[in-house]
Amino acid sequence: MKTLRNLLLLLTAVLFVVSCDEREFDMPPINMPTTPIKANTTIEALKAKYKGMALIEITDSIIIRGLVVANDISGNIYKQIVLQDSTAGISVAIDRNNIYGDFRIGQEVFIECVGLYYGEYGGNPQLGFKYLNNRNEWAIGQVAWEFFREKSHLNGFPQPDLVKSEVLTIEQLLTNSQSHIGKLVTVRDVYFEKGGIEPFAVPGANNSVQTESKILISAANPNNKLTARNSSAANFAHLIMPEGIGSVTGVLSIFNSTLQITFRDSLDCSPSRFSDGQGNGSKDMPWAIEYALNNQTDSKNGWIEGYIVGSVAPGIQATNPISKNGDILFNAPFTNNTVVLAASPDVRDWTKCVVVNLPTGSNIRNRVNLFDTPSNQGKVLKVKGTLEKYYGAAGLTISTGAASEFEFDENQITSGTGETSDSPLSVSVAKSKQGEVNQLWAKGYIVGCVRNGVSSVVSEADVIIGVTSGFDSQTNVLIADYPNETDYGNCIVVNLPAGTPLRSGVNLVNNPGNIGKILIVKGTLRSYFGLPGSRDNGGNDFILE
């Protein structure tokens, strides 16, 4: 029995030992990848070097660098990633599924190109490898995964915020497509031909994968179109294409002579980017005043944008609602508990106004109210709240008035009548008044100029904006409503006539310090360098502040 007891003891001991050997594995440390490799060629230079080659092996020790701007995460893009540096973008074809797991948007990658192949498929450049097609010819195809792994070097963790896409209209794109092919672009002011009707793509026969071409049309000119290539394998393929006018983002490519854009995921072409001109209540696309006027009964909550035209007169309450123009103050002195917004700064009709409450002590009241700052009249206010009546008038009720609920730039130029230098138009109003017969005064911050030698502005590259030096043209300046404007689409171009004080005193070549200064200038509001402009000034009718 003693032996038996000993055996049982042994058994217990061993069971204990065995049960402890659980073979748990610790998580391995996740190290940020780094590489000492440096690029010696830009993507632009690489493409220029091999331009026109249907297939060629890269034998020089070319090293490029770029960020991953597109991958196959949604299934719309297949077996490729797109790499882009500050000069250009190029597609890299890789024989692998679900590449996105390893190559995320914003990942910095260095590629040693020697041993890879450059090729053009339908004129679209790509990096990859050779393969034998069904006509028994060598053509550009995908590079094998392990070979690509050897050639590519990741640096750092992905930084998706660094991925920017240039914003263009279709017109700008069509005029200068070559430099954009291979890059991530955002195309604005477009609408889908079958928006609201057809899905992005449907599967082919026997549930097979097929890619369909859908058409994007320019809102400015319906003759200008862009093809969107949509795969039925995309996880958003079954969604109906958005209706309305808006913008899309995607990778630009070419097939023979057709420009194409390929969306990366559903966010690149989501309905929230589109509106029928009335906005959709998001901060990026706030509802227009007209929408706010027409939607007062459903308690819709969202953003609206309008010009401040006045405030509500005192004494308005439930028993004394707003019912006439006199119930709104359109002139100083104003009250401080409300502001009234309208679609343009000169509206004086209460039925075309939206009342916005300014809660006591709130951030919005401090910054916006007209009682303390009457000069805010005519300025643009973007604010979030619930659309509901304010004592008889259309209104937007805001909840707290904290900084997150509104957007207001004190420095914006408020628009006047344009007839005198004391009441100049703002740039945004001056843009909309292009073609007026009489000369009008406009006011704006000097933010840059159109580049010397450009005859018509079609892209960012044609202007110098958002910088403080390097200006090369004396003939013009760009002015805008905000001193930090970087989008030339929000500017007008002011002509500086030769041999006049307007030129000598204002031009940025000789006076680069004028950046950020306010220019009030008179002129005919007509097109200049293809953009809205102010021209035909005598040469002296201006004020530089």
Partner: protein, 920 residues
């Protein structure tokens, strides 16, 4: 007066005769004692059979055995056990006497004494198949006294030889009279008695459908492991072994009190097997087996015993491999399941299992001829197998066909990939764990906590209760009668759990491939759910997900058999009635079958019966002829009865019992020098139902191909011959030449687990193809030499005609539906698709040496060294399968057979087993 006297005389005569008869049947008996010739110690647990009387007994703790109520005259006594050199002798039985043949000396076969037997070689050996079953050779057969069966099961185990080509479900395994075959999968899991070879040594083994005391029988034979404590002799045994097989070290200990004066007996045993890395790279092994048996002899007629056995085990599996990868890495021991993590080898396929059993049995010796054995058994199985799972991400399997050199189309890339494989770049040839953690981390950085890679553990647990009662009696000098009744109930629990999220925060429990294929369906939000009752559930480590269902099986079984024995003739016949019912119960409402997956499903029930008949003609003591014939029906196994058990309650159409018609004819010879037999057999199977699951790694889902109406024919010749040419030298020759084929064209349907579809039924062109996975020609020739307690053994074994397991999907009309450039090309492609690969045959050479040492009067040491496959033949494929998928070249629209080549398993090269055991 005279009449009365006459009547009285007749009456006296009659009474005298009657009493004589009674006395005759009561007092003719045979007894003896089995003693080891090397240690002079009695040996319990030895099987002794008395041929003419057809009785068998097991030597008890003191080595003694007793046959009562036997027929007088000359008879033959067979003594067999794995631990001794089987022997036989002629006995002369005098009627009305207790014939005491005294001490029978047997020589211990140390080779077999502490050997693992076939257990070692194939031990729950990790078949990394998608399905979990532990395919183990029925090594119980080494205990058979039939020369063919014992030597082939010993020598052919490494080649996964199946007796008569029968699948494992056709052999029954009992422990103390309770059947422990798995009611869901059919086979017996040897892992359950994990390594407790000493404690489970005592076996009653029956070949085929031959009569036995504990079961009706099965065509593949039956075994009953007897662990009653009183059967063990008093003493202790400890053993230590070193090996280079699935495990490296084995330690075992057994202690038994023997039957003590107070009627109690206790036996306890432990066995521990361990390997940090077995012969297959990246496989570890950790198994602890325990046994406790307590018996009380209440009186001379009643004894009651309790046994509990268990073997918690954790081990890692090996992969089936392509010829290409094995050639590239230069080793048949390549394993695609492991990869480096933090400097250690981590295997993605780990099996963790524990199947404790408890048996309570009662033996009632009603009288000298009659015995009633009743038992209650209980088993609880936990079985988990881990595997990688990947969601919307690239396959992590290193041997995915696209990651191999053969996939590349340019010679530059073929060479590049070949270089990566040949140099064993671990990021390429093995699982890249660190990459999977990194990808999950990048996913988290991008704002989503959903895992792209994870490890899941598929659980197949089971609870099993069984009741069994067997009645044995001798009706008269010629006739014995056996009957049995048993009932069992099973609850199988099948579910998937999250084992390791590899750094991710959670997993959303939906089917990704449903999303890919059915995104256009307006009802996709429901269809993609794995459990509509808990939609879009985020699961973490330990949670159940993907599927969760139970299978219930109840059976009741009644059988009876009569055996008649005469001088020249023996005849037996019997019948068996079985009732089976089963159903599925879903615990999740699957989005693809919302009406048909949750809750209790339809019940299937079946009555089945078997009849058998056997005849033996004893020409003389030397020459015996025998013939057996049987017809049985077997209810389908639940494993084959559901089209997609994980997702829905849809039974295989035309579900029915299979029919088996088996027959054999044999001749056996017994002379002082020669002992052996030759037999021919034929078994026809009709209307089998089989599930062929295969895993599509491009679709990352199971595809089930269910075949119904399968007919098979197994037939062949078997030979086993032993010749004792001198007192020291014995030669053995055994082998079989057989043919196991499919004899018709079954019907098949295909079900996808990630879809609601079940494709329409198609004919599967299987006729005349071979059953795969076992050599259909096998033979062994051995020389045994004994000298002064040394033994030497040399065997040469040969194998041929092992075929690959054929895939049904390659042999359907829709598979033939492709275009080729010409008719000749079409015919060639069909041929390539349909050809069944036959593996190259080969030889192995085994050698073993052993000796018993008597250290002192109490201590005995046995040393045994086995060397198998001494010539290191690494070209022997033991099995393999055709892949279910077919590849259509996108450009040419042709089938490319090279894309999805066959996958194989190889027999281990040189391996050894060195052990020492001490008894005291």
């Amino acid at each position: 007066m005279q009449q009365k006297y006459f009547m009285k005389k007749n009456l006296y005569l009659f009474l005298l005769l009657f009493f004589s008869v009674s006395a005759f049947s009561q007092t003719t008996s045979l007894k003896g004692m089995i003693v080891s010739s090397s240690t002079n110690m009695p040996i319990p647990g030895i099987s002794i059979q008395l041929q003419n009387s057809g009785l068998s007994a097991i030597s008890s703790f003191d080595g003694s055995f007793l046959f009562e109520g036997i027929s007088p005259g000359e008879d033959r006594l067979f003594i067999s056990s794995p631990e001794i050199n089987n022997s036989e002798m002629t006995v002369d039985i005098i009627e009305n006497q207790t014939n005491d043949i005294g001490t029978v000396y047997v020589s211990e076969n140390a080779r077999k004494l502490f050997s693992e037997g076939a257990f070692t070689l194939i031990d729950e050996e990790d078949i990394g198949e998608e399905d979990q079953s532990s395919h183990n050779v029925s090594s119980l057969m080494t205990a058979s006294n039939d020369v063919y069966i014992s030597s082939t099961s010993w020598n052919f185990a490494a080649m996964r030889f199946k007796l008569r080509g029968y699948d494992y479900r056709y052999s029954n395994m009992y422990i103390n009279g309770i059947n422990f075959n798995d009611p869901e999968r059919g086979g017996f899991s040897y892992g359950m008695i994990g390594g407790l070879n000493d404690a489970t040594r005592s076996k009653d083994v029956v070949n085929g459908l031959n009569p036995s005391t504990f079961t009706f029988g099965q065509i593949g034979g039956s075994g009953n492991i007897i662990t009653n404590a009183a059967n063990f002799s008093r003493g202790t045994r400890v053993g230590l072994a070193y090996t280079n097989r699935a495990y490296t070290l084995r330690g075992s200990a057994l202690h038994s009190t023997g039957l003590m004066k107070n009627g109690w007996a206790v036996t306890a045993s432990v066995a521990y097997r361990w390997a940090d890395e077995g012969f297959i790279e990246g496989t570890f092994y950790n198994s602890l087996g325990y046994l406790l048996s307590i018996e009380k002899e209440i009186n001379s007629r009643h004894s009651i015993s309790f046994t509990t056995i268990g073997a918690p085990t954790q081990r890692a599996q090996q992969s089936s491999n392509f010829q290409e990868t094995v050639d590239l890495v230069g080793s048949i021991y390549y394993n695609s399941y492991w990869g480096w993590q933090n400097g250690e080898k981590r295997n993605s396929r780990v099996v963790t299992t524990f199947e404790p059993i408890a048996i309570l049995s009662h033996v009632f010796k009603i009288n000298a001829e009659t015995k009633l054995t009743t038992g209650l058994g209980f088993k609880y199985t936990t079985y988990g197998q881990t595997r990688l799972n990947w969601i919307n991400s690239a396959s992590p399997q290193p041997d995915y066909y696209r990651y191999l050199p053969s996939y590349q189309t340019t010679s530059v890339m073929k060479d590049f990939y070949t270089g990566l494989w040949e140099s064993r770049n671990p990021n390429v040839t093995q699982v890249d764990w660190e990459r999977m953690y990194r990808v999950n981390h990048l996913q988290k950085l991008s704002g989503s906590g959903d895992a792209l890679y994870m490890v899941e553990e598929r659980r197949n647990d089971q609870m099993y209760f069984s009741f069994n009662s067997t009645f044995n009696t001798k009706l008269n000098e010629h006739t014995s009668f056996t009957a049995g009744l048993s009932a069992n109930t099973t609850k199988g629990m099948h579910y998937n759990t999250v084992s390791d999220l590899l750094g991710a925060d959670y997993l959303t429990d939906i089917d990704q491939f449903v999303i890919r294929d059915l995104n256009h369906d307006p009802n996709i939000e429901n269809i993609k759910q794995n459990d509509m009752n808990n939609p879009n559930r985020k699961v973490v480590e330990g949670d159940r997900f993907s599927y969760d269902y139970n299978i219930y099986v109840n059976t009741a079984d009644l059988w009876a058999r009569n055996t008649h024995r005469y001088n020249k003739w023996d005849i037996y016949y019997g019948f068996n009635l079985v009732y089976t019912e089963f159903w599925r119960e879903g615990n999740m409402r699957n989005g693809r079958a919302p009406e048909n997956s949750y809750g209790k499903g339809d019940v299937y029930s079946s009555f089945d019966q078997s009849v058998k008949l056997g005849l033996t003609y004893k020409l003389s003591g030397k020459h015996i002829f025998s013939g057996n014939v049987s017809y049985s029906t077997l209810a389908p196994l639940t494993y084959d009865s559901y089209v997609s058990a994980r997702t829905r309650d849809e039974m295989t159409p035309n579900l029915q019992s299979e029919k088996i018609f088996a027959s054999d004819l044999g001749y056996s010879l017994t002379t002082p020098i020669f002992r052996g037999s030759i037999s021919v057999f034929q078994t026809n199977f009709y209307d089998q139902t089989r599930l062929y699951p295969y895993y599509s790694d491009s679709e990352n889902t199971f595809i089930n191909h269910i075949l119904t109406g399968i007919n098979k024919m197994h037939r062949g010749v078997e030979l086993g011959l032993k010749a004792k040419v001198t007192s020291n030298i014995t030669l053995t020759l055994a082998g079989t030449v057989a043919e196991y084929i499919y004899s018709n064209r079954p019907t098949g349907i295909v079900a996808f687990e990630n879809n609601k579809e079940t494709l329409p039924a198609e004919t599967v062109y299987f006729k005349n193809f071979y059953v795969g996975g076992t050599p259909q020609t096998a033979g062994t020739f051995g020389i045994q030499y004994f000298y002064k307690y040394w033994f030497f053994n040399l065997d040469i074994n040969g194998f041929d005609r092992t075929y690959v397991d054929i895939a049904p999907s390659r042999r359907t009309e829709s598979a033939f539906n492709f275009t080729a450039n010409s008719y000749e090309e079409y015919v060639d492609a069909i041929k390539q698709m349909m050809t069944q690969e036959r593996f190259a045959g080969g030889f192995t050479l085994d050698f073993s040496v052993g000796k018993s040492f008597r250290l002192d009067s109490k201590h005995y040491l046995n040393v045994n060294l086995q060397f198998k496959n001494m010539l290191n033949n690494t070209d022997l494929k033991t099995g393999g399968y055709e892949q279910g998928r077919l590849y259509v070249d996108k450009i040419t629209q042709n089938y490319d057979m090279e894309r999805f080549p066959n996958k194989y398993y190889w027999a281990q090269g040189f391996n050894c087993y060195l052990m020492a055991a001490l008894r005291f």
